[in-house]
Amino acid sequence: MLYDKEDSLNDLKGLLFGFMNTSFKTYLNKSTHPAPLAVFRIGFGVMMLLSIVRFWWNGWIETLYILPKFHFSYYGFEWIKPIGDYTYLIFTVCGISAFLIAIGLKYRMAIIMFFLSFTYIELMDKTAYLNHYYFISVLSFLMIFLPANAYFSVDNLIRKKTFTAIPKWTIDSIKLLVGIVYIYAGLAKINSDWLFKAMPLKIWLPSKYDLPFIGNSFMQQEWFHYAMSWSGMIYDLIIPFLLITKRTRWFAFGLVVFFHVFTRVLFPIGMFPYIMIVTALIFFDADFHLRILDGFKRILKFFRVQSAQLKAQSYHYKKQTLVLPIITLFFVFQITFPFRHLLYPNELFWTEEGYRFSWRVMLMEKMGNTTFKIVDAETGQGFLVDNSDFLTSFQEKQMSFQPDFILEYAHYLGDHFRSQGHKNVQVFADSYVALNGRLSQPYIDRTIDLYKEKESFRPKNWILPFHDEIKGF
């Protein structure tokens, strides 16, 4: 065998301490068989293609990106907007590149196209923000730098050569990213609402009363809500370690399947569980993946090309000195960015300053009701806005409890009514928000003219205090 079948202990070491180790250079020069990366590439491409098709099929391109009059932008990305009916073109590009990734044709170009189109889609309107979309963007960015077409790809056939070894760190980098996602999601669950109030599961689970068998029994029991909260936290924190360790790998994979299928049954989270299940396969050894690829070969036997016809060699980066610093910076960012909420003084769940892009998944049940008053500063006369005149029900729901949405929408309303000829326009918000089972309470200072407030990364002083404390990360 060309690749080394190391024992699990070394694997663990390589991943956790690889970058600090004196044997860093040795680690970087280690190589492994490319089969896991090839299977990962195929799985990723197929799942992404399915996601795009499903999104299109459900009519969400229309309802999320074409129909709304107004789109909520990310700060600094206001220039990224849906482009009318051409938005379908972006999804087409995204779908085609996912397909090319799956078959490994023009891989480098395809993954770059995928990263750009997918990220563009996500930046068009933050109403639809999901952590797992961010995960896809981040993962596809990383994959730009990985030789995922080194094995079992159409590119191999075209170039008439295949690779039997790739640098080991390339596969480890995906494992590391997955590990970060799980561990950060687990750390975020270490908070008093999640662990000591079983919130928000205590709200969500009883409403699943119509599930067969468990709906009327477990789902209604308080101890079960606590058990789910605690086991969810522990699962997230230890699953990367169980997956890395060879002895527990199959057990861990069973847990991954069970956990994600269970969440899929409970919550409307779309393709995400399947993507995580497929992603977890990366932790398996190369011979496991070779057997999967053998399976593919049998299915594709009409197109089968003897690997003997291909020149086999080891893959070496032409510009490893350029790639490695990028990958390092990428991980430094991934590790530090989710902690940016520490720079803000107020309760994270309440103000959501630093909440997104930090693997805080399913942590809050938060709803709000926010109405806006347009006032003429001279006369003091004003009127309330009917939000449904401007926003879809989904946008209104998301806007009602997120301060950056409220501010952006207030500016949109101000601009709109000024262009309609209203003078001395001021915009005030009357907002109530309920978080994790607490009674709704005033959210935005209603004496502040939001039309004068500017979006920035600084703390928003017009958010009213939370009057409670959630301890933890």
Partner: protein
Amino acid sequence: MIKHIALILGLALMMGCSSSDDSGNGGSTSDNFDRSALLKNLADNIIIPSYQDFGSKLTTLKGSIESFVATPNQSTLEAARNHWLIAYKAWQYVEMFNIGKAEALNEYYFFMNIYPVTVLDIENGVSSGNYDLNTPNYHDAQGFPALDYFLYGVAEDDAAIVAKFTSDPKSQGYKDYLTAVINQMDRLTQQVITDWNSGYRDQFVNSSKNTATSSLNKFVNDFIFYYEKGLRANKIGIPAGVFSTSPLPNKVEAYYNGEVSKELALEALKAVQDVFNGKSFNGSGTGASFKTYLEYLKVDSGGQNLSAIINAQFNDARSKIEGLDSNFSQQIVSDNAKMTIAYDALQRAVVYLKVDMVQAFNISVDYVDADGD
């Protein structure tokens, strides 16, 4: 080999679960809180009795309007007016039930109570005889508000109103339009009542799942929508100018009658609160309701259940409304601040219902994927 089997089983489980989660309504469930009992209480003790009460009062109104059209005079006019008010008050108890046939009629309430009426449409219809009350263009030219116009506002005083139906050159046009309006109201109402009595009741009661299309979820949404739009905005907010640059006193309910807008609003608030508390329409008994559901879910804050907080807010709004002039137009002209105070009290309950109650019920709304953040 075992690993392979495990993998295949896992995949099969995935497929099985992903295809079964879309299944729709049906099947009454019973955990410790019986949502089916809630729906039964709503249907049998509130919705159907309210409709039956309204239906018979509307039939009486129809009879007295027919008498008025046959022999227009002061006494038939007054009889029609009396029965108009009785039926209009009974209507306040059913307007919120925009579900089943009421919804399928392309919103039954659109044909019953859109105000203010567009007088021009009515007068043109009277003159030309060309009108089609089934089209959306005529939503604001029929129903109770159109009757309000015919019985109170078509001329300056009672004698002149009677004259519109006797000596006026267009009297036949007035008679025909008025008859068309009451016939339309009666026809649609009978359709809705028949539907409840012929099968829809069972369908409604058995659809208690937590899906976007189940009757429980739809009813919660309809209830809140009515409270927010039909009651809070239409009866108080819009005429008080909350949504416009200046007050609009001519947009009150029963504008031409000029005396009962407060009475109707109070009936509507009572209807909402009774539904919330599951109080029987006939009698004082209560059953499973949003209130008991909130109590079951133990949605407490500061030692109080959310249902008590909501009831207190309803009571607060009621006392604010009771302090208003019996004619809201008059109140708006004399002291609109009191109107907006009443509006604010109603609005606070919107937040409790729409945010706190819906959050506690965790009503599923299938917009798109969500991971809860």
